[in-house]
Structures are given as structure tokens and as C-alpha cells.
Symmetry: C2
Subunit: 391 residues, 2 copies
């Protein structure tokens, strides 16, 4: 392989594929970035056991000249660091049997390959029976941010580390839950995918990596197969295995009967939860929310350290305010993460009783957009359940 490429283009390409390079993989080649040069251009690939990131620079890009076709697998971190510190000039890459030579006007570097054989990279993701959809990158990024934080971080139930992705006609829905909190959002697609598509569980980490690297402009094409998924936008492409196992049924979890619905300013509620978090130092980050006629009262207590109450006034319509104050208790850290993932200015809080899931619904004016969050309340001793109103 021999190519010449502008440092800025090579650096940008590496930024797209580095996140997938495995840190200490079972297959040594996966610690590297694969370069493949052919008549079509230069393709960079970073891969781990679950996800593959690819970036393709086409041969008609003036930043690239392919002088000799071929491939090589280069140690990811060292290669990335080296390219980062080169000046903005042309970089000549030439792969030998054991080394890659990297040359600019002022630099010559020889780097041992991570693997002699580029074929050690797993070639095939099983993309069969695919359903294809197309979504603007802006919408996709927003949806992924809305749900991915709620997936389980523990691998105790592997399938919960994923995001459930459903296509139904022209509607795409994403759901994530770790069993205590749940995040759901759905969006109308511009192109209809036709009939009811499959349910696929995409690893949350893969999905957020893709969405974080992705630019705001343009569209992503998503191909959902039986065992794998492909997301592609321009030169950038991700392939990921899907998570197996049955995703729990999530459709009936939102309480059908609602008692109280209030509207709050998202940033004010978040600020209040952050303040109250300072004094909810126990493991459960216990926090109480009391609905009173004029406002919500957030309160937290840390035994021996102090106590806090913050009032948050309504910021829109309210209904079903109970005669006696209604208090729910919950994990403040979870509430914080939910509120941080909401882009809307205002949010509705829906309560169905102290033991029923707390519902948050972002007030979103975009047509066809829907989102809600569920948070299981914490049962608390009665003594904590009635904060005194601040004077």
C-alpha cells in the first residue's frame, strides 16, 4: 500500500474510527486501525467484538492519492497520536511486510504493524432481511441522546444494555431501560419504511458512539437486519451486532390512569434537583417531590449533615392538583440524568399515586415527535414523606 493524503483529512478520518478500536482484544488485530487502499479510495476501519466504525475517503477527493493498492493494520493509539502531532502537510504512507512508513517533509517514522494480516479483522456482519430507513442526523442525534443514558450499565441482563429500536410504518421508536427508569422517544420518518419492521436491540454504547461522532448536517441511512445493524452517513459508517434475548415488554408500563399533571421549566427543575442532590448523599440519592397548589417542593435530607427544600413554580397548565399535598420519592441521580437528556424548555410531570411510576413528558412542538420517561418511585418511611413548607 502506498498513498499520499493531507494530514487534516487523515486526522479527521481517524477521529471517526478510533472509538471502536479495542483496548486489549482477544484478536490482536482489533487493537489496530485497518487501512485499505484501492481504486475506490482509502478506507479506515476500527473494530471491536461488537462494533465496527468505518470512514471512506473516495479517490476523487483531491486530498488523497492512492499510488499502490493494499492494506495494513496499524496500532490505533500510536498511529492516532502521531498523525495528530504532524503539521498540516501531505503525509505519505507506505506499508511493508512488518512496518508502516509515515513520511512528511520534516518527519520520517516507521511503525510496527499491529497485525501482518488485515484479514484477521472479522469480515462479515450478518446483514440479512434488512429494513431500511432514512433519518436526518439532527433527529437521530436528538433521539439517541434522549434514551441511551437509560440503558443498563451492568451486564447482568445483557439485553438491557441495548436500545430497543422499532420501525412501524413511517415511525421510528427507541426505548431504553435498566429496570428502574425507562426512556422512550419516537419520530415520524420522512420516507415511509412500509409495513411493520422488526424490533432490534442495538448496543447503547455503539449507538451513542455513532451519534456523538456524527455531524449535525445530512442524513443517516439505517439498515436493520436480523443479527446486525448498519448506520451510514456520507463517508462514515457503523456496523454493529444486535443484542440477542427477549427485550422485556415495555408497552403497558406507563400508567393509564393519571391523577395529577403539572408543567415545569426543565432547567429550573434540573437546577433544583442538582441543588437537592448535594444533601441526598446516601446510595439511593433519595429525594422527595411534593405537589402543592402553587408549586412543586423538592426536598432531601442527609442524616447528620443537613436538609434542603427547593420550590419550583409551575410553568404552564396544571390539572388534578390534589387537596392534600401529594408526595413521591425517587432516586435524584436518575431524575437528574433524565432532565439532562431533555432538550425541550418545558416538561410535564405526571403522577398516578405515590407507588406508581413517575412520568416525565417533554413538551415538544415538533410534529410527530413523542417522548416520555418513567421512574420507579422509592418506598420511604412515612416520617420522611411530609416536608414542611418553606416560609
Amino acid at each position: 500500500m502506498r498513498t499520499v493524503i493531507a494530514q487534516a483529512s487523515l486526522h479527521a478520518a481517524l477521529q471517526h474510527v478510533m472509538p471502536a478500536a479495542a483496548v486489549s482484544p482477544a484478536i490482536p488485530a482489533l487493537s489496530g486501525i485497518r487501512l485499505q487502499a484501492d481504486a475506490g479510495g482509502l478506507t479506515l476501519t476500527g473494530s471491536n467484538e461488537v462494533t465496527r466504525l468505518q470512514y471512506h475517503i473516495p479517490s476523487d477527493d483531491p486530498a488523497l492519492s492512492v499510488l499502490e493498492e493494499g492494506g495494513a493494520v496499524i496500532p490505533a493509539r500510536r498511529f492516532g497520536d502521531l498523525i495528530r502531532y504532524l503539521g498540516e502537510e501531505a503525509v505519505a504512507l507506505e506499508a511493508g511486510k512488518e512496518m508502516l512508513q509515515i513520511r512528511t517533509a520534516g518527519t520520517v517514522c516507521r511503525l510496527a504493524l499491529a497485525a501482518r494480516d488485515a484479514s484477521e479483522f472479522r469480515e462479515a456482519f450478518d446483514l440479512t432481511d434488512v429494513v431500511r430507513i432514512r433519518i436526518s442526523n439532527r433527529d437521530l442525534k436528538r433521539m439517541v441522546k434522549q434514551v441511551s443514558f437509560a440503558a443498563a450499565s451492568s451486564e447482568a441482563r445483557m439485553v438491557l444494555t441495548g436500545v430497543l429500536c422499532r420501525v412501524d410504518g413511517s415511525r421510528l421508536s427507541l426505548t431504553a431501560t435498566d429496570g428502574i427508569r425507562l426512556a422512550f422517544c419516537s419520530s415520524e420518518l420522512e420516507d415511509s419504511a412500509g409495513e411493520m419492521g422488526p424490533s432490534a436491540v442495538i448496543p447503547a454504547k455503539s449507538l451513542s458512539t455513532y451519534a456523538q461522532i456524527l455531524g449535525d448536517a445530512g442524513f443517516s441511512r439505517i439498515s436493520i437486519g436480523t443479527n446486525a445493524v448498519e448506520l451510514e452517513s456520507g463517508r462514515f459508517r457503523m456496523l454493529s451486532s444486535l443484542l440477542g434475548g427477549a427485550y422485556p415488554s415495555v408497552d403497558g408500563l406507563k400508567p393509564a390512569r393519571e391523577l395529577t399533571r403539572v408543567t415545569l421549566h426543565t432547567a429550573s427543575l434540573l437546577q433544583a434537583v442538582e441543588g437537592a442532590s448535594v444533601l441526598s448523599g446516601d446510595q439511593q440519592h433519595l429525594m422527595l417531590l411534593t405537589v402543592s397548589p402553587k408549586q412543586a417542593i423538592l426536598s432531601s435530607t442527609s442524616s447528620g449533615t443537613g436538609e434542603m427544600q427547593v420550590t419550583v413554580p409551575w410553568d404552564g397548565p396544571v390539572s388534578g392538583i390534589p387537596a392534600a399535598p401529594l408526595t413521591v420519592s425517587f432516586n435524584g441521580k436518575y431524575m437528574k440524568e433524565m432532565l439532562r437528556s431533555i432538550a425541550s424548555d418545558r416538561v410535564q410531570l405526571v403522577l398516578a399515586g405515590p407507588d406508581r411510576p413517575i412520568v416525565l413528558e417533554p413538551v415538544d412542538d415538533r410534529p410527530g415527535a413523542e417522548a416520555y420517561y418513567l421512574l420507579t418511585p422509592i418506598r420511604t418511611p412515612a416520617v420522611l414523606a411530609s416536608p414542611t413548607s418553606p416560609a
Copy 2:
């Protein structure tokens, strides 16, 4: 104690004193921030065994009302977090025997005191026999950045964790060394301090904390005593113990006889060292620098992984270029830290032979400013000492 103060003022004041609050101190009170309100205003103090940071808000500041004099010691981190999350409004503070009440329009919080007795804070730093100097904050920040990184991080020789501070007539000199590298800078003061003042060793950490918090505008007054030092600028004040023990003699370390002097572009040399660092993965971060007629050649080798050579052209006068290439070897990490601390565009590299300290002198046009860096070379096996010139 009862005061009302604008959230923004209280938050800013806390930012100045928090860095000194001890994390798990022998004296519990030191984990707190002390508030003292009196006719003069409100003073906040954070303190550890070595350093005290103080911020004073005078009573004529419209952001402050002292309603009742008194003091309290509040848990530092919780207090800081709470104030950060309050809205920009008036904050009423009222200290009881065991609790501080913090109240805004929407928030009421009671926080257990860190200590019942504010007097547990050490009262006296021994500021006797002081020499006083005055220096612009801009110059002080620059000087501290130039030297403090070179102090020892290990406490094996306690005195080397400090910065040697000398006043001689109207000149202030700072020196720091860990035994392998040394950083020196000196500056002409606007006000002459008179005769030769004392040598004091100020803990490097205290000095950089003060300099980092300090704004660019204004002046600092420095009072150097026998056992302690005080730095003060406007409302902000630091007291620190000095380090005892004899500071090693540093005056004769710079080689008197110089063979070769070359001028380089600081940022280009730093970029080259950062690039070569990628392949100097051993513990010593071994790197070679070869002086050839037209340029410097930096090279590094990582056994089994690769090798690298970067050329850096001269960027100014050179003298004493040897007929045969002259190579010195050194710790690349140390070289990087030195170069990062240099604000000047260009730097002179002075060599007195492969076994003599490498000297770096920033090219600084400010009148009266002087600075240099010394780096002890690493002795290397002959086989590494002659890089081939890149084509």
C-alpha cells in the same frame, strides 16, 4: 452570624478559597470554609496544614449586608455545591449553634457546621522580619508558570517541592528543581525592595494555586518572612508556611563554557517533541537531539514498535555548529513540560557537550526579564546515539 449576600459574589468568593480546604485533615475544622462577618465585611477562609486562602468582601460592597456579626465553619464541598446551584438571587446566611441556615426566595437549607468553634482554625502564620515586594499579577502569573512545574512531586526531599524565591535589590528570582531539571526566571520589580532580602522556599503547590486563581489585572503585594509568606491582591490573600531545610546551591549549574547555540521556534520544537514522544514509550522517555548544520533532528525509538525522526529547522541565529553532528539524549517528557511553560515564540538551545546539562533560554524581549531551563542528559548506549538523517 447573619448576612445577606448576592449569590454571584458568594460563589466567586468561594472559588477563591475552596482549593485550600483540606480533604481529610487531622483537624476536622480544616475540611470547612470559615465565614466571619463583622463591621468590616465578610471574610471567607479555606485552610490546610500549609496554606490558607482568604477572600474578603468589604461591608461597603452593595452585594453584602452584615446583619449580625459572628462566625461559622461550613463543610467546604457541600457548601460550594449548594451555592453553585442556587439561582442568581440574594442568599441569606444565618448561623446557629450547630447549623447554618441558607435561604433564598425559593430555597431553604440547613447544613450542619463542620466545627462548632471557628477558633479551631490555626490563627497565626509567623510573619516576622518580612521583606515586602510588589509585582504585577501578569508578571507573577507568568513567572510562576515558568518554574513551578519543575519542582519535585515526590516528598523524598521536601525542600525540592518548593520554589526558591530570592529578592535582591529590585530583582525577584524564582528557581525550582527536582534534581534532574531546573527552571529559573527573574524579573525587575517596579518598586525596589532595597537591599538583599531573604531566600525563601514557598511550596510550589501553594504558589501555583494562588497564581491560577489570580486575575490578570492589578498587583500582588508579597511579604516574605522567616517562616511564612503572604501574597495579597485586592480582596484575595494567601498565607503559606515556608519549607525548611537548605535549598541546594543552584548558581553554578549552568555550564559556563558553551559549544553550540541555536535558535528554534518554540511551538515547532514542542510539536516535534510531542510527536517523538509517541515512540519513546520507555520509563525514561528517551529522546535524542542531533545538531546538524541546517537543523535539529529529534529522534526516538521504541523497541519492537517503531522509530521516528523529526527535523526542526533553525529559526534565528546559530553559532558553534560542530563539524560532526552533536547528539544529546534526554527525558522527552521533561523537555515537553519545559517547552509548554515557555510563553516566548522562540527559544535558544545551548549545548556544552553530550554529558553537560542542556540549556534552554526563552528569547524574551521584555526589559529585565531573564529565564533559563537546565535538563540533565541521559547517558545512552552508543548504538542509539547516531540517527541517520532523514532523506
